[in-house]
């Protein structure tokens, strides 16, 4: 087993606060091809009942990937990033992220398993506002291919 199973259960973070901005949401929406005005136009978002422009459903990856990268880069884990592919990704939203949110991410290694000649690592990232409001849970499975 290439990955250090002592890391199971280890918690990383909360990291530095991340300010969700209208500009970044719009940039991300444009980049993924999401055309909804609710991701660009504050007036449209407010009219739809949101406090400000809202992020598309996978935007949280910008925050969660940075957090799980801290886990993956930890030398004690023993991960060879050049052998990693993204296996699975999921998001559960209590509410959409919106411009103005200031959030922190905390990642926990949920499991490390050997499957065939590969290692699978599951990381759960909690994204909450700095005031403690839970917004999103991201679950990521990465696969380190065997050599």
């Amino acid at each position: 087993m290439a990955l250090n199973t002592d890391y199971v259960g280890r918690v990383f973070g909360p990291g530095e606060p991340y300010e969700v901005s209208r500009v970044k949401i719009a940039e991300f929406a444009e980049a993924v091809g999401e055309t909804s005005p609710l991701c660009r136009d504050r007036e449209a978002a407010v009219k739809a009942g949101y406090p400000d422009v809202i992020a598309p459903p996978t935007f949280a990856i910008v925050i969660s990937m940075a957090s799980s990268k801290v886990v993956q880069d930890d030398p004690g884990l023993g991960l060879d990033y050049s052998m990693v592919v993204h296996g699975e990704q999921a998001f559960t939203h209590a509410r959409p992220l919106h411009a103005g949110d200031v959030v922190v991410a905390t990642s926990t290694v949920e499991s490390i398993r050997a499957v065939g000649g590969m290692s699978l690592m599951t990381t759960i990232t909690d994204i909450s506002t700095v005031d403690g409001e839970h917004v999103c849970t991201a679950k990521s499975v990465i696969v380190e291919r065997g050599k």
Partner: protein, 140 residues
């Protein structure tokens, strides 16, 4: 958007195609912060054994959420949960067509509280690129 009353288990969502070119990958790298070289450099991608530059898995995942968001009347906030397994890579050639991702979906469960579970299928050149792709959507 159909209402919760309108849909049934088995209700299908009209399929849609999305084009991903090299520029899409550049924009996504910038927007997401994922600058992994296999998503923009053909020399290195092929050196490590890939057929070509490949799309970020997360970019292909986003085509699925674009798809259900459009079904939900363009409200990204209606997508309460979304998860995928990445089952095949998406090579993106350096030409005018790039890669075409075809997404289709159907309602598989009515969960109450106006929420439905949708099963999505995403293919590129006939190959399934996202498996176990599910979303929970709040309808009106």
């Amino acid at each position: 958007m159909p209402t919760y009353e309108d849909v049934e288990v088995g209700t299908t969502i009209p399929p849609k195609s999305y084009q991903l070119g090299r520029l899409s990958l550049v924009k996504y790298a910038g927007a997401s912060g994922d600058f992994n070289i296999i998503h923009w450099n053909e020399r290195v991608a092929t050196q490590v054994g890939l057929p070509n530059v490949i799309a970020h898995g997360m970019l292909t995942m986003a085509q699925g959420s674009n798809y259900v968001t459009e079904w939900a009347d363009g409200d990204p906030g209606a997508v309460l949960e979304y998860g995928v397994r990445f089952s095949a890579m998406v090579p993106v050639p350096d030409d005018d067509q790039g890669a075409t991702v075809e997404v289709s979906g159907k309602v598989i469960k009515k969960l109450g509280d106006n929420k439905v579970e949708v099963d999505l299928s995403a293919r590129c050149d006939g190959t399934k690129i996202l498996s176990r792709s599910r979303a929970v959507v709040r309808l009106s």
